[in-house]
């Protein structure tokens, strides 16, 4: 289990992570989403032991993580731009990791080398962006980490490899209780993969929820009227986060369950009404809008 308490990280005057509290259960996949500069990558770097917070603690199964080789031996971090030397191949980089990571598995290494369509003797630096990420993944998964931290991992991967990666991660989590934290702007992919979502903004956690409950918590409702009722506040009593009108048709984002808001909406005698769950991207936009980060406030 990862326990983060009061974590703060400053880059000179900029507060990248601000008194952040977060608990990540073992065997879960947590998606870190948030605006640009919200502190996702910084948080991952602190989790990986690259950065050290000025305040607060990160405990990995009760152990301090920073500069603790034993704890770090159970983690693997793939940054948004993984580094490889000009002459690095998967094969020779594996030599380093094999020696340093206590749970390195040659069996896993052989398996992932055959799973990902990549030549282990080729220089990684000459590979495409997606191939480089696959190389990093092969090495990461071969260390059999208990904690895997991935930053923008889907970036550059083709749909097949993305699907493959998700399958492998889910398999690992299910079989080995691996804990994965993924920072990404690709909400569609996270939606398929994550158990929990942590929404960050300006260094703090804006919201942290199980993805299922998140999905059930928000509804996108489309209501059409023959004649819009002459009521001062049409959606009063409903937790409407946003309302968008096009003639007699309203698109309303509502926080709550259908049992809660449908009776009130039906009372308005709409000609047509339909409710459906929000995608993660829509939830993201709506929540960020509530935090003052939307296109209107930017423009």
């Amino acid at each position: 289990m990862i326990e983060i308490r009061g974590l703060t990280k400053r880059f000179e005057k900029v507060v990248a992570v601000n008194r952040l509290d977060l608990t990540v259960r073992e065997g879960t996949v947590t998606g870190l989403v948030g605006s640009n500069g919200s502190g996702k990558s910084t948080l991952l770097r602190m989790l990986a032991g690259v950065f050290r917070g000025e305040e607060g603690t990160i405990l990995l199964d009760g152990r301090e993580l920073f500069d603790n080789p034993a704890a770090k031996g159970e983690c693997f971090f793939i940054p948004d731009f993984p580094f490889f030397y000009n002459n690095s191949t998967i094969e020779n980089t594996a030599v380093l990791y094999r020696e340093l990571y206590p749970h390195w598995s040659d069996e896993a290494y052989m398996r992932y080398c055959s799973v990902f369509p990549i030549n282990t003797k080729d220089r990684i630096i000459n590979m495409s962006k997606g191939m480089q990420r696959q190389a990093a993944l092969i090495l990461a998964l071969s260390t059999c980490p208990r904690y895997l931290f991935l930053d923008e991992i889907f970036d550059g991967l083709d749909p097949v490899v993305r699907h493959l990666l998700k399958r492998i991660l889910i398999e690992h989590v299910a079989e080995h209780q691996m804990t994965v934290i993924i920072a990404s702007h690709n909400l569609r992919e996270l939606e398929d993969l994550c158990d929990r979502i942590c929404l960050m903004h300006r260094g703090s956690v804006l919201m942290e929820r199980d993805i299922d409950s998140l999905r059930h918590e928000f509804r996108k409702v489309q209501i059409a009227f023959k004649q819009v009722p002459n009521v001062p506040n049409l959606f009063e009593g409903i937790n409407a986060i946003s309302v968008w009108r096009n003639g007699n048709v309203f698109n309303v984002t509502i926080r709550g369950t259908e049992e809660e808001f449908m009776p009130r909406l039906n009372a308005l005698q709409p000609a047509y009404i339909s409710a459906m769950p929000l995608t993660l991207e829509e939830i993201f936009i709506s929540e960020m809008g509530a935090a003052g980060y939307d296109t209107n406030s930017i423009l």
Partner: protein, 649 residues
């Protein structure tokens, strides 16, 4: 509780790091090996061809034994020296490459991500990388140096001193430079800043030390500061000079300190400082302050010497500010890529200007009376004076040590009075002369950096005061403000037999330092002063006379005994004159690179000489000279001896 020991042992982690670095530096190591092998082979080939050509010049089938094997040995000796220095130079270049590469993980955000996440403690990782750099720098070079030595030995040429010294110098220079660069790499955010800081501190520190020494020597007349020429103080932050040898203990401590500080700081270092200017500000301040000081002193001393603003001190300060402020700003802009944080980090510049102004004010107006100090004869327990031109220990001992040696020489009131009079006459000379010390800063700075050769002429005056404190002043007859020193008051002391016994080279030079002994006799025309100086016998070791060293020792031992028994012989009373040339083996002079080059190029700079006269009372000496074949029974040169017959004489 924090667990700090990895499940993989620390030694294994170090070994893994070493193997990883070895893999990453293998290309550079291979290039080094190829170049070193090619250089060695080329130099060996050229030397052997030249050696064999010379050796077989006089060879013929009629006389097959006439091959000159010494010529081959000579050629191999040249190979040994040239190839060793070529490999040494190659090592310097490749050490830079390995070192920069090895520490670059601190200066690249992507590398910081990779290495920062590895399950190895930062300190272990840093230490392992440093040791890897040591090994890559030292082992391959040692291998090639050993190979060169082995080839030489196979040809019958043992290792020469020039080469044996390289091993230690290489070791010290490499570890000192790598450790210092490693420390700077931890403190800097970019490789460029690390390299700039390394170069700037190395050179700016030496220049600053020379300016300080030059200033102190110029303002504090009599200050025996030239003594510190060979001191580690002059090169404390110049690890490149460790390649030149000397100060072994200091460089070992320096290396250990840099390594320890680097290991301490690397854990606290903020990884996010990669690709920013600095992680720790110390090197930035050091570089800026040292460069500002150097440029400030540069202009300040010129303006002070020229008397700008009519008062030398005012001219100096004007020049100092004019030189130091722009230098500080420009250095800041180079290190920080702009004027960011310039004002915030300008406090040291202000401090520097204030400190320099304060110190120079005190020096300019001699507020503590250092230059005028001559103790009352009554307060002096004993005193001494040394003529540096006639002192064997010059160079072996520094001026303070010489002062301590001389302080007990004279205890009688008359001689003490003579010495204080002599001292006072020097000071009076200064006070009456139009002396501008600013004009001497450059001279003393540059010349003292070159070597003590330029400070050969002068006098040391020292007193042991009633309190037991020894006060030493050293006045050199050198500098822009040149002055003569009148020695009338102390001529009796400097010409005494006691002085000769205690300080002359002929009485004190070690036998293993004497490289030649010249023996000459007066001409037959009865002119006792006219010796056959153009055709003396020279007893010096060469291939044809391996016993010369023993011969020299025999004669010198006899001479010293005779001198002790019969005293000094005037030239008029002498029947034989001896001239020695010697090289001080532990001479402190010429330690700087420039000084060493001058010493190497100049015979007089590398060896010294002295002369002694022998009367008929010196029976032991004359007997010894007859026994070695230098003199005949009539005390004339033995014309049958090898020394006389030597065609190269």
């Amino acid at each position: 509780m924090t667990q700090t020991v990895s499940s993989k042992g620390r030694f294994r982690q170090c070994l893994t790091t070493f193997k990883w670095e070895l893999y990453n530096c293998s290309g550079a190591l291979l290039i080094f090996a190829i170049l070193a092998a090619v250089f060695t082979t080329v130099i060996l080939t050229i030397c052997l061809v030249a050696g064999f050509t010379e050796a077989t010049d006089s060879w013929s089938t009629a006389n097959p034994s006439s091959i000159d094997f010494d010529a081959i040995k000579g050629a191999v000796k040249i190979f040994q020296i040239v190839a060793s220095y070529a490999v040494f130079a190659l090592n310097a270049v490749f050490t830079i490459i390995y070192t920069i590469r090895i520490y670059s993980y601190l200066h690249n955000k992507r590398k910081a991500d990779m290495y920062g996440a590895l399950p190895i403690s930062r300190r272990t990782f840093y230490a392992a990388k440093t040791v890897s750099a040591y090994i890559f720098s030292i082992i391959p070079t040692m291998f090639f140096l050993s190979l060169i030595a082995l080839i030489s030995i196979c040809f019958g040429q043992p290792l020469v001193n020039e080469v044996t010294g390289i091993y230690l110098n290489l070791l010290l220079g490499s570890i000192a430079c790598i450790s210092f660069y490693g420390l700077l790499a931890v403190c800097c955010g970019t490789t460029v800043n690390s390299v700039i800081s390394f170069i700037a501190i190395n050179f700016a520190y030496v220049v600053a030390a020379l300016f300080i020494k030059g200033t102190a020597t110029s303002f504090l007349r009599g200050l025996p500061l030239i003594i510190y020429e060979n001191s580690f103080i002059m090169k404390a932050l110049n690890p490149l000079s460790a390649y030149g040898g000397g100060n072994i203990i200091y460089w070992i401590i320096f290396t250990a300190a840099c390594l320890a500080l680097g290991i301490y700081l690397v854990k606290k270092r903020r990884a996010e400082c990669a690709q920013t200017s600095f992680a720790y500000w110390l090197p930035a301040y050091m570089v800026k302050v040292l460069v500002a000081f150097d440029f400030g002193m540069f202009l300040g001393s010129i303006f002070g010497a020229l008397g700008v603003l009519f008062i030398p001190f005012a001219g100096f300060m004007f020049g100092f500010v004019l030189g130091s402020v722009p230098a500080y700003v420009i250095t800041h802009m180079i290190l920080y890529r702009g004027v960011n944080k310039l004002v915030k980090t300008a406090i040291p510049l202000g401090g520097l200007v204030v400190v320099v102004a304060g110190v120079m004010f005190v020096l300019s107006f001699d507020l503590f009376g250092y230059n005028r100090f001559v103790p009352d004869a009554e307060s002096v327990k004993s005193a001494g004076v040394i003529d540096l031109e006639d002192c064997y220990f010059k160079g072996k001992l520094n001026a303070v040590e010489l002062g301590n040696l001389a302080a007990d020489d004279c205890t009688d009131a008359k001689n003490i009075g003579n010495i204080t009079d002599f001292h006072r006459s020097i000071i009076n000379n200064f006070e009456t002369a139009d002396y501008n010390p600013y004009a001497d800063i450059w001279y003393n700075m540059i010349m003292s950096g070159v070597g003590s050769t330029f400070y050969d002429s002068g006098y040391i005056v020292s007193y042991k005061l009633s309190s037991g404190f020894v006060s030493t002043r050293c006045y050199y007859e050198t500098g822009v403000n040149y002055y003569d020193i009148n020695t009338v008051a102390v001529d009796g002391i400097l010409g005494s037999t006691e002085y000769y016994l205690r300080y002359s080279s002929i009485m004190n030079a070690r036998y293993d330092e004497i490289i030649s002994l010249g023996v000459s006799v007066p001409k037959d025309d009865g002119d006792r002063y006219d010796y056959l100086i153009n055709s003396p016998i020279y007893i010096e070791e060469d291939n044809n006379n391996p016993t010369a060293k023993a011969d020299i020792e025999k004669v010198m031992t006899a001479f010293r005994k005779d001198f002790a028994e019969h005293g000094e012989v005037k030239p008029n009373d002498a029947v034989v004159r001896i001239d020695i040339r010697y090289v001080k083996k532990d001479n402190a002079g010429g330690n700087s690179f420039l000084g060493a080059m001058i010493a190497a190029m100049s015979y007089s700079a590398s060896s010294s000489g002295d002369r002694g006269y022998i009367s008929e009372d010196y029976t032991r000496t004359l007997k010894a000279m007859r026994e070695i074949g230098a003199l005949d029974d009539d005390n004339n040169l033995e014309i049958q001896s090898w020394y006389y017959q030597n065609p190269y004489r």
